[in-house]
């Protein structure tokens, strides 16, 4: 620290050596984005409330107590229950975080605003009050003090109200009460806290590291195997993605069944695969999106088990998604795997803290059964006192996840898990613990093949084609069945290849029953041939067919002989028939049911189109065909025929009456008609028929007869007697 007292925080920061500044920016990365222009700007950012809140969350209980004392204007060395050097170290760290500055150190203003507690009555008085306090009141104080929280209070009479009345509690606002600083000092005997110098001890038990590593390696192997098994399955049977983006409960349950695990474990496998980029939404032939393995998965698959594990474990370490919530409910909404609302920004930090606390166990130590995990939670609480306590509930599921992944085993960190947490490469340590891949199987007469360890990948893939997997784990049990052998044939293997493959991979002689099975299937394989042809020719006269095949020009018919008496062609019958006739032959056409169709001259017919005969079509046709002039003139007429004095009716009964009258009498009417676009158009029409809610009438505008829906007619009136009308009528 510089000896001279800095005038401002900016000045202090300017004077700091580079590495000190670097530490600050590393610890409080939000200060560095975007890069500040100068120290003044940095100093301005350091005191921003949001940034300070983050920095406060980094403090452990000791540092917080020291800061609190500084805020209250007390000497930390006097009021904090810790040794002098510890207090000094804490002060240094507070300065390093730029939460305090200057000499003597004082908190930046905003820290004071955030943390300051009301002073309250003098300590001695408070101590006196505490002595005479009823146990109930004492319990309330102790609870609030222990939780470091404000109490809720609605103002009702009761022990809390009594405490407020005596001044042992102070109202913070309408609903909250808090312990004042001096009362806190009185509670702890002139100290601000209980002993905070040391983090709480972890409850440990002895456990051989080799056992831990073995158990963890087993878990790691299983985790990789499960991931692969599930994604392989999803390669061919992808589960649909929910509209909201998650994976359906039923699909999750199916996955859990496939993996022989509980729903929670399946969810972890899925979430981790997704975090590692092995799984994403994509499109299949189905119209809906589905969850599919990605291209990264193909690359991942080629790695060794240890490499694959590292990819998964690293993804898990930095996965902000709360996999443990899957299968439960948030509010009354069920939580689906892969659903977008699982992200928790604080989860990565909590996981890192929990693992580093676990990492503090020495070699050969594990968390004690029962008490181990609570002690770890206590330690985390000491280390991050300002974090919401509810988050600590996630520590237990997080440790469970660590065990499932093999980062820990038997409640202790595995050797390779330690490498992972501390940022070294765990591959070598893990590879030594994993079962070595085997390159052979044992074939047995009950048509099973057993791989006594994890198979080499290529071999496993090929074997899974020829035989069905019956049981998985460290070893794999395969069963040969006619269906599985046929699957290999379908994939293009020959019987000889299958024979050779099983003989090659088996360390034991191939049982006779298996050889027979392969031969049996191969004998039946392809007995029936299915193909595609557009037409066939058959004749009982084989020579006639041979003749046709060799006739000049027959090559254009694309004929193929599939039996002595049958030819097929991929030309359609309509094309084939005339060409055969051209060759001078006289074929007869068979109907689909095998009966002969009588030949007759080809009469061509177009397929009749269904015509739309609605009024709209007519109108449109009319519009296309009729001269624009006609329309204009009709328009003119309409306007000129606008009834100026004539009786206009608009009630339905009157409208129908008038229309009927006009239809009977012949004669034109002016109607207001609501068109398809909702506008009312006036038209001059000569009604011909009125029935079924429709008026069929001659429409002068479109020069044709059309129907009008009566309910669309807004008004009807007689046109004024007009000489034009008579002429138009003719």
């Amino acid at each position: 620290m510089p000896t001279a007292t800095p005038r401002t925080l900016a000045e202090q920061l300017r004077d700091w050596p580079d590495e000190r500044l670097a530490t600050l920016l590393a610890e409080r990365p939000d200060l560095a984005t975007p890069a500040p222009h100068d120290s003044s700007q940095l100093a301005a950012r350091v005191v921003v409330k949001a940034s300070v809140l983050r920095a406060l969350d980094l403090l452990d209980s000791l540092e917080l107590a020291v800061l609190q004392a500084l805020v209250q204007g007390a000497d930390p060395a006097e009021v904090v229950s810790a040794s002098q050097p510890a207090v000094r170290r804490a002060e240094e760290r507070l300065a390093a975080l730029a939460l305090v500055w200057g000499t003597p150190a004082r908190p930046v203003l905003v820290v004071g605003d955030l943390l300051r507690m009301p002073e309250g009555l003098p300590v001695a008085e408070a101590a006196g009050l505490l002595e005479g306090l009823a146990p109930q009141g004492r319990a309330i104080l102790d609870h609030l003090e222990e939780q470091r929280a404000d109490g809720r209070w609605g103002g009702a009479a009761g022990p809390t109200a009594d405490l407020v009345a005596t001044g042992l509690l102070v109202r913070r606002d309408d609903h909250h009460v808090t312990i004042p600083w001096n009362v806190r000092l009185a509670l702890h005997g002139d100290r601000s806290t209980v002993e905070v110098e040391q983090a709480p001890e972890l409850a440990v038990a002895e456990r051989a590291q080799s056992l831990v590593d073995r158990a963890a390696a087993g878990a790691a192997f299983e985790f990789v195997r499960r991931t692969e098994l599930l994604l392989d399955r999803w390669s061919t049977h992808p589960p649909p993605a929910l509209k909201g983006g998650g994976l359906g409960v039923r699909e999750l349950r199916v996955a859990a069944q496939l993996l022989h695990v509980e729903i929670g474990v399946a969810a972890l496998v899925i979430e981790t695969a997704s975090a590692a980029g092995l799984l994403a939404q994509g499109m299949t032939d189905e119209p809906e999106a589905a969850w599919l393995p990605t291209e990264t998965y193909d690359v991942w698959q080629t790695g060794s088990t240890a490499h694959r594990w590292v990819a998964l474990a690293r993804a898990w370490l930095t996965n902000p998604r709360l996999a443990s919530a899957v299968g439960g409910r948030i509010g009354d909404k069920p939580v689906n795997a892969l659903s977008p609302d699982l992200e928790r920004s604080w989860l990565v930090a909590l996981r890192a803290d929990a693992l580093s606390a676990l990492d503090e166990l020495g070699e050969g130590q594990s968390l004690a059964a029962g008490t181990g995990i609570p002690s770890l939670v206590e330690r985390l609480r000491w280390r991050r006192p300002r974090r919401p306590a509810a988050r600590l509930k996630q520590v237990v599921p997080l440790l469970g996840e660590a065990a499932l992944l093999g980062v820990s085993g038997l409640d202790a960190v595995s050797g390779f898990g330690r490498d992972l947490v501390e940022g070294r490469d765990p591959v070598n340590a893990l590879a030594g613990l994993l079962p070595t891949p085997v390159d052979h199987v044992l074939l047995q007469a009950d048509l099973t093949a057993i791989a006594p360890g994890p198979l080499e990948q290529e071999l496993a893939r090929r074997l899974a084609l020829v035989a069905d997997v019956e049981s998985r784990g460290g070893a794999t049990v395969y069963r040969f069945a006619s269906t599985s052998v046929r699957r290999a044939f379908d994939a293009g293997w020959s019987a000889a290849e299958v024979h050779e493959f099983v003989a090659e991979t088996s360390r034991t002689p191939v049982p006779q029953s298996l050889s027979y099975l392969i031969d049996d299937v191969s004998r039946r394989f392809g007995t029936l041939r299915v193909g595609h042809a557009d037409s066939f020719l058959r004749s009982d006269d084989e020579t006639a067919l041979t003749e046709l095949l060799h006739a000049p020009g027959a090559d254009t018919l694309r004929l193929r002989r599939i039996a002595p008496t049958v030819l097929v062609s991929d030309l359609a019958l309509g094309v084939l028939l005339p060409r055969i006739r051209e060759l001078g032959l006289a074929p007869v056409v068979e109907a689909a049911d095998g009966t002969v169709r009588v030949a007759r001259p080809d009469v061509f017919r177009a397929r009749s189109l269904r015509r739309r005969t609605t009024a709209a079509t007519q109108v449109r046709t009319a519009a296309h065909t009729a001269a624009v002039v006609t329309a204009i003139r009709a328009g003119d007429r309409t306007s000129s025929a606008r009834p100026s004095r004539g009786r206009s009716v608009s009630t339905p009964a009157d409208v129908i009456a008038l229309l009927r009258e006009a239809a009977e009498a012949g004669g034109s009417l002016v109607i207001g008609y609501v068109g398809n676009d909702g506008t009312v158009v006036e038209r001059t029409v000569e009604p011909q028929r009125v029935e079924g809610g429709q008026v069929t009438a001659y429409d002068a505008r479109s020069d044709g007869t059309r129907s009008f829906a009566i309910h669309r007619i807004t008004a009807v009136s007689r046109p004024d007697a007009n000489p034009n009308q008579d002429s138009e009528k003719s």
Binding site: R214, A215, A217, G218, A219, F221, E222, H260, V261, E262, V265, A403, L433, P435, T436, L442, Q444, A445, D446, L447, T448, I450, P452, G453, S471, R472, G473, G474, A475, V477, T508, P511, Q512, S513, Y516, D520, R523, R524
Partner: protein, 544 residues
């Protein structure tokens, strides 16, 4: 990495590598709690089932032991979830117990009140229990002892039965070991039954289950009711008991369709007990006719459902079940567990064969091709007719003829399902035939002359599947069977497994029509034996 012989799979199967040096130690260690599922040549498969784990608890093993065995023999890391599951499953056994009570007769009690509440609230249990005596005890009507145990097993909280057994009416029975001795495995089987109180002994056909039954009777020293599958088998039991024990002809009664004798030792057939008249079982009172000290169930895998119901009322009596396979085609293994009792003894067939206690057997599948004409008939037949058509092809008769000729001089059985086929065979081979309509007297006569060697060839239908003791039979030719029944195949092979005087290998031929449903069924039938290590050799009919 550990180099143990055992691989523990996540689906709760255990794979045991037979050729491993620790294999036999491992087998002994896991046998109490794991069910042997398959034992082919290289790797045996065991399965951890709740029943098996409870069997182990019943025999006094705890979860810690089981986990320890798995960990110490396992080659790879044992899936953690499986260990947890083992512990949890085993902890379920014995939370409930049935005890005798001086006042209330029978009392169900529990150390775990939550479980107790769950069970008592279950609808299935509600009708079987009486008054709540205190928070942890409830009275049970003694007649519901079996039903309650059955229901509790279904709920997943099997009760431990400490209510004990009635001694029954004492009746002295002793083994008379002149010219023969009880083999160690038979002794062990009888002992483990006796210590367990009730239960099932699994031994291959031909390994002397009757003798285990006799040994159990001698241990009980009480009046005994023996339930067997049919009359011929009843008479064999009688003959065997007279030969092996101090029992005399007069002490043993036969209770069958023909005779209704109730004596200190009574042998009854399932058929007569389950006979119904006007909706009632008139012969059921046999069960209460005497104060039986022991009930023997022969071929327990065939136990018909009504007998299960009756057995539920007999929980106070000692029960021993004898069988070659616990495979029940109807899947009622759980009822056998809760009503007769847990499995008390089991050994792989091949082990017993290795000891020379059953004859080694060579299983051969002979493939015949349907003649062209029959192939067409087969192809166009209704699906339900196909199996019969494929089974009864004339080609099989020819093969049977050839095989019989090859084994001339050796006692041979030709076994089939369809009567017309059997008649045809009998005519072709010029041999007597035993089928359902053959009278008991005639059957016994034919078996007797076959045993003495007077005739060497018998054609039999499925009536000879079980419990017919033909120790000299060395060759069996199976031409057809009841579809895919695995236990039938095992039983038929069992006819041949009595150790032969000259230590010869028995031959079991099964004739199968290629490319038909017959072949598919044959594969299913053979599965149990293939899993027991009996590898079938396949031979083409033309190569015989």
């Amino acid at each position: 990495m550990n180099e143990g012989p055992l691989i523990v799979q996540s689906d709760k199967t255990l794979l045991l590598e037979v050729d491993h040096e620790l294999a036999s130690d491992c087998r002994k260690a896991i046998a109490p709690f794991a069910e042997l599922e398959r034992s082919p040549e290289h790797i045996h498969t065991y399965r951890l089932t709740p029943l098996g784990l409870w069997n182990a608890r019943a025999a006094g093993h705890d979860a810690e032991q089981v986990v320890n065995v798995l960990l110490s023999f396992s080659r790879y890391a044992v899936p953690h979830a499986l260990l947890v599951d083992v512990a949890e499953t085993m902890a379920r056994y014995g939370r409930l117990r049935l005890d005798k009570h001086p006042v209330h007769g029978l009392v169900l009690s529990s150390t775990d009140r939550a479980v107790f509440e769950e069970v008592l609230r279950s609808k299935k249990v509600a009708g079987m229990i009486g008054d709540r005596l205190d928070p942890d005890n409830v009275a049970v009507h003694p007649s519901q002892r079996g039903n309650l145990k059955q229901a509790l097993l279904k709920l997943g909280w099997p009760a431990e039965d400490f209510a004990g057994y009635v001694d029954g009416e004492a009746h002295k029975i002793e083994l008379e070991q002149d010219g023969w001795t009880l083999r160690p495995d038979q002794q062990e089987a009888a002992d483990s039954f006796w210590h367990g109180g009730s239960g099932v002994v699994v031994l291959p056909c031909g390994a002397g289950k009757t003798i285990v039954g006799a040994a159990a009777m001698a241990r009980a020293g009480a009046t005994t009711l023996i339930l067997v599958t049919n009359t011929v088998s009843a008479r064999q039991w009688k003959a065997e008991l007279i030969k092996r024990t101090s029992l005399t002809e007069d002490e043993i009664g036969e209770y069958s369709g023909a005779r209704k004798e109730v004596r200190p030792v009574t042998i009854a057939t399932y058929q007569v007990l389950t006979m119904r008249r006007k909706g009632l079982y008139p012969h059921l009172e046999l069960l209460d006719a005497r104060d039986w000290g022991l009930i023997v169930y022969d071929e327990v895998h065939l136990l018909p459902a009504p007998i299960f119901r009756m057995t539920a009322n007999l929980q106070a009596r000692r029960r021993i079940g004898l069988t070659a396979t616990l495979v029940r085609e109807d899947g009622r293994e759980g009822d056998v567990f809760s009503l007769i009792g847990p499995k008390r003894y089991d050994a792989p067939w091949k082990d017993i064969e290795g000891q020379g206690w059953i004859a080694p057997a060579d299983c051969v599948e002979v493939r015949v091709t349907l003649p062209e004409g029959e192939r067409i008939a087969y192809a166009t037949a209704e699906p339900e007719e196909r199996y019969r058509l494929a089974s009864c092809t004339y080609a099989k008769t020819l093969v049977a003829e050839k095989l019989v000729a090859q084994h001339r001089g050796e006692p041979t059985l030709v076994i089939g399902q369809y009567l017309e086929q059997l008649d045809e065979l009998a005519e072709h081979l010029d041999a007597p035939v035993i089928k359902g309509e053959t009278t008991v007297k005639e059957r016994e006569r034919l078996y007797a002359v076959f045993r003495t060697g007077e005739i060497q060839l018998l054609v039999v239908s499925k009536v000879a599947n079980f419990s017919i003791d033909l120790p000299e039979a060395a060759v069996a030719i199976q031409v057809s069977g009841s579809f895919g029944s695995r236990q039938e195949e095992a039983q038929r092979l069992g006819r041949l497994l009595r150790p032969k005087a000259d230590g010869k290998t028995a031959r079991f031929y099964t004739v199968v029509s290629r490319d038909t449903v017959d072949a598919d069924f044959a594969q299913n039938r053979q599965r149990f034996l293939a899993e027991q290590g009996y590898a079938y050799r396949i031979v083409d009919a033309g190569d015989l």
